[in-house]
Point group: C2
Chain length 321, copies 2
Amino acid sequence: MLGTWVVGIDLGGTNLKVGLVDAGGAIAAIQTCPTEAQKGPDHFINIVDQLVDALCVQAKVSRSASILGAGLGTPGPLDFRKGIILKAANLPGWVNFPLRDRMAGKLRVPVVIENDANAAAYGEFIGQRPRASQPSMVLLTLGTGVGAGVIIDGKVLHGHFDNAGELGHMIVVPNGLPCPCGQRGCLEAYASAGAIARRFEQAVLAGESSSVPSGSDAKAISIGAHQGDALCRRIWDEACLYLAIACINIQHAFNPEVILLGGGMAEAGEFLLACVRSHFDANRWHLHDDFPRIELARLGSNAGIIGAAALAWEKLASASS
Amino acid sequence: MLGTWVVGIDLGGTNLKVGLVDAGGAIAAIQTCPTEAQKGPDHFINIVDQLVDALCVQAKVSRSASILGAGLGTPGPLDFRKGIILKAANLPGWVNFPLRDRMAGKLRVPVVIENDANAAAYGEFIGQRPRASQPSMVLLTLGTGVGAGVIIDGKVLHGHFDNAGELGHMIVVPNGLPCPCGQRGCLEAYASAGAIARRFEQAVLAGESSSVPSGSDAKAISIGAHQGDALCRRIWDEACLYLAIACINIQHAFNPEVILLGGGMAEAGEFLLACVRSHFDANRWHLHDDFPRIELARLGSNAGIIGAAALAWEKLASASS
């Protein structure tokens, strides 16, 4: 296959995904495998190197001639200037590791690293519109936790300490439910797929009845809510209420053009959107009529590699200009 | 007096303030007078024109030779691209008025308009550090309401719909106290000088006892809290708690280098700071140690004219480059 590619890498605590992505954001080939984080970052780098070989075979491209760079979305916190992963809850022992430069040394191409939620947000941003436009966008990824990324004027917002856009940990209920992060009342404690399953289980264990069995996940609970199960409906509705409050706060803080909902919980599609939009409209102010659109993310689990790759393409473009 | 100046204008619902400001942010002369908003925007423009004459006499400068431009901080919402004030709660009847161009026509110099809270934030930003640096900062102005402005990479954040940084209307208590904006549970409903006076009065009318008399303002209530009055202390402490939660949410959203507290309530100084910082530390996460500094604003009621003037200076610089 002719053309040039960068490697998009999505490093998760459980699995890693690597793809060849062209300058337009199209994926030519994808490989996934277990991260085996406990074997350490050098092992990870070797695995990625092997996967790039496999991708080149799969897509019939010459690695030395066609692979120009790589973008890596990783849990953090990171030090972007130094390209270092400071630590990560899901990657035990990966502390102060110079991920960018070690990966670049192994792959022998320039590497960009980005927070995984930011990379996904950038992927959705690229997927939303022509690259030339410069609007603003916020992505909330509703999975085990709530990841988030903020795009302002076409760029990922990093903040002074590289920790901007941690919107899953905005406090929506003062002194509310404990969050794994150590705070109380975070959005993530109410409105993630993980929180929905946890809250359902606690209610069932406390004796509340439901047509949905104990141990169900957020998907089963959303279906139960859709079918009218009272407990499922209450928990789902509360999650949507807090998502709506988060969207109101995001509207007041960033005033983006669009707020996207992605991740496992967003697989409920219109059932999620309608509920969040309804709470948004019931709780927002009415001083003016211009509000962000609340929509579903489009790229699913490929957003991370597309976004990371897009950042790598931009670094290549700025280096050659 | 030799040199060149721009006019900084701070348009409030009650008073307007106009100053001559040099390129370094120093004020050569100030004039204030009632806004008389009910007489309409054309009357306001005429008054400003007369005040500029008075300023030039006061500072002994030649108006035609020395006044290069003007910056105007105004309530909004605004349309920045068109320079229009869309409407303003405190300026009844000022609807869709082309404030920038009409002011420029009268003063015969280029005019920049900015949201008043953003102008104050930019003034504090300019006052904080050398102009060359590009950090991020958030200002919360705790007056009758809670105004706010967000500086990212040295620039005022406007957002897609020109309404970014309305942080006084972030919801901190779902279904909480009603806010004049129409929402419930806004930061402004708990943590403004106005809210503190209102909540105190309601408690006294409901029969709670206090050593501080009915009808007291936030300043008297803060002094009462400092002196140990139980009711004053409870209301003050709750205001500080919600300010701290707002600061945590600001830290997660923007991750700025510094969060400044200004406005009437900030006249309590260290008594306010210590209380907010203590709640911030008790409620924030502990995943890392890098947090925005929470500090007092420095410029007091001159922040608006200094910030508006600085924006005018920048427009002049970019027009001539």
